[in-house]
């Protein structure tokens, strides 16, 4: 069995038996278990973020007929680790007249927010940390913290470019949050639940039952709007290198910058994971016969495919202008997502 459920139960059993033999109260056992799960997810996500950066560099390289990192290890597998070590050694600079407290907290907020999302993401069979009944609502509210932190970073840096970047990020996410939520609404209407675990259960291991087919418009809108929420090309106005140098993170150095960078890639994986859960059947295999491949492999594969598509967008499309960006959100995505909701409602009533 390659499923990790057994290992999780085994570790849980060991912790419980040790704690019982020591005579600890139940609440402490629970806290220890929760901490173990959190540390496991955190370690996985750190590794994931490092390798997403590597993947981004490889994908961008090969799209441009380059090779990407090649020097550190086999095909440069240790490149991001080397970069992270370099960033750890760097001086943490805070500019003069910066709002020091806000400057300090901005990377922590963005990092905490993107990490907190993973509490409700089902990684595999029996690998859901907290099956809350408002899972998707929780994700939508937590991911908006990113905007807050970008605005904090932009404001606190005492830099015009950073402030402009933060402002652009805020305006962009306010606009794109609407079609994003409305595109999810179609799935929520079909499933009749907000729980992430239920979405996976309802779709089941049958590719034709996945919500990507009836909700294809919603899927496309979700992908576009979440690309905009991620501040990635073609919607990367908050960190437009050519106009704003680097946008909100211009005055950050060392590990704080690394936290912004890792959070960006973790958010990308979040989008992949949420898209997989909502539209692509979560950890279910496409056919029941393919269930011999463990569920977490299916989940990772689908999520990484979505991440790859977002990277593919980045190396295909040029950046939009600000007014084009906003008019695209309000004049194209919003009407279509309303049409999608109406069609979904009609479909539910008929069938």
């Amino acid at each position: 069995m390659l499923e990790l459920t057994g290992i999780i139960q085994w570790v849980g059993g060991i912790v419980t038996s040790i704690s019982n033999s020591l005579g600890l109260p139940q609440i402490i056992i629970d806290i220890i278990l929760i901490l173990l799960i959190a540390v496991a997810i955190f370690a996985f996500l750190m590794l994931m973020a490092l390798y997403l950066i590597w993947m981004e560099r490889k994908v961008s390289g090969h799209i441009q007929d380059r090779l990407g990192p090649m020097m550190t290890g086999w095909h440069g597998w240790a490149q991001t680790i080397a970069d992270a070590l370099k960033l750890l050694q760097k001086e943490d600079i805070i500019v003069a007249n910066a709002d020091r407290k806000v400057h300090y907290w901005a990377p922590i907020v963005v990092f905490t927010a993107c990490f907190a999302v993973y509490a409700v993401i089902p990684f595999g069979k029996g690998m859901l940390a907290a099956d809350v009944n408002i899972g998707i609502l929780y994700i939508l509210s937590i991911t908006t913290f990113t905007t807050l932190s970008l605005l904090m970073a932009g404001w606190a840096s005492n830099n015009k470019y950073a402030l402009l970047g933060g402002m652009r990020s805020a305006s962009q996410i306010i606009s794109y949050e609407v079609p994003l939520t409305l595109s999810i609404l179609g799935v929520v209407m079909m499933a009749g639940t907000l729980s992430m675990g239920k979405f996976v259960e309802l779709q089941g291991p049958y590719i034709w039952k996945w919500y990507v087919w009836p909700q294809f418009i919603g899927f496309c809108i979700y992908l576009i709007a979440s690309t905009a929420e991620l501040n990635r090309t073609p919607f990367d106005l908050p960190e437009a290198e050519q106009e704003l140098v680097a946008g909100f993170n211009i005055e950050y150095s060392g590990m704080k910058f690394a936290m912004f960078f890792l959070a960006e890639f973790l958010n990308m994986f979040t989008v992949g994971a949420v898209t997989t859960t909502l539209f692509l059947g979560g950890w279910n295999p496409p056919l029941p016969a393919l269930a011999f491949i463990p569920s977490w492999v299916w989940f990772l594969g689908k999520s990484l495919f979505i991440v790859f598509v977002i990277m593919w967008f980045k190396w295909t499309y040029p950046r939009l202008r600000v007014d084009h960006l906003l008019s695209f959100a309000w004049k194209v995505l919003l009407p279509i997502s309303f049409i999608n909701i109406i069609l979904t409602a009609i479909g539910i009533t008929i069938f």
Binding site: G61, H62, I63, D65, R66
Partner: protein, 185 residues
């Protein structure tokens, strides 16, 4: 109606863009991993100057005639002449090429009548001090040890048989290079 037309043509164009980048994704990268892989340098590439030796005897072809020193537009070459008393032949006592001012024009190679000096495809000579870029005779000879070259020289005294072969085959290749020499001289 224009709205919908624009909408669908937009989608079509976006997909076209994705198709283009997807086409390049599996293609072989054109990158050359430079310190590990290198371009083969063409035979007549103008890199660093070396002194050529006779492949049979291992001695320098140079007769210290000073033609290259005179041809050099930036005066990068400095030669001290000497005479071997036993064989009664001239040879360069010192031969110094200052690579900090060499402009790799190749005029010294054209001026030489004895296949003694040649510009090679070698180009990796980055160092930390200028002094080490001034190459002496021994270094130049060592660099030119394995350099292949085409014999232009007509009078080789030692091998009569080889001489007749070269004179038969070489005139065509040697002839075009003669007029420029005359002009420069």
């Amino acid at each position: 109606m224009g709205y919908f037309k624009e909408f669908f043509s937009g989608i079509y164009n976006l997909l076209l863009g994705l198709k283009t980048t997807a086409k390049y994704l599996p293609e072989r990268a054109v990158t050359l991993q430079y310190p590990k892989e290198k371009w083969p340098m063409p035979e007549r590439s103008r890199g660093i100057v070396v002194l050529l030796s006779d492949p049979d005897t291992g001695e320098l072809n140079c007769t210290a005639c000073l033609l290259c020193q005179k041809a050099c537009p930036v005066a990068a070459i400095t030669i001290t002449q000497a005479k071997n008393e036993t064989t009664n032949k001239r040879y360069p006592k010192t031969f110094e090429v200052n690579n900090t001012i060499c402009c790799f024009c190749g005029l010294c190679e054209e001026a030489c009548n004895f296949d003694a000096i040649k510009l090679t495809g070698l180009y990796e000579f980055a160092t930390f001090d200028k002094e080490s870029l001034i190459f002496q005779k021994e270094k130049l000879q060592e660099l030119g040890r394995n350099v292949k070259y085409e014999k232009k020289r007509k009078s080789v005294a030692k091998k009569p048989a080889a001489k007749s072969e070269t004179t038969e085959t070489k005139p065509q290749s040697a002839a075009p290079s003669d007029p420029p020499k005359g002009e420069e001289a």
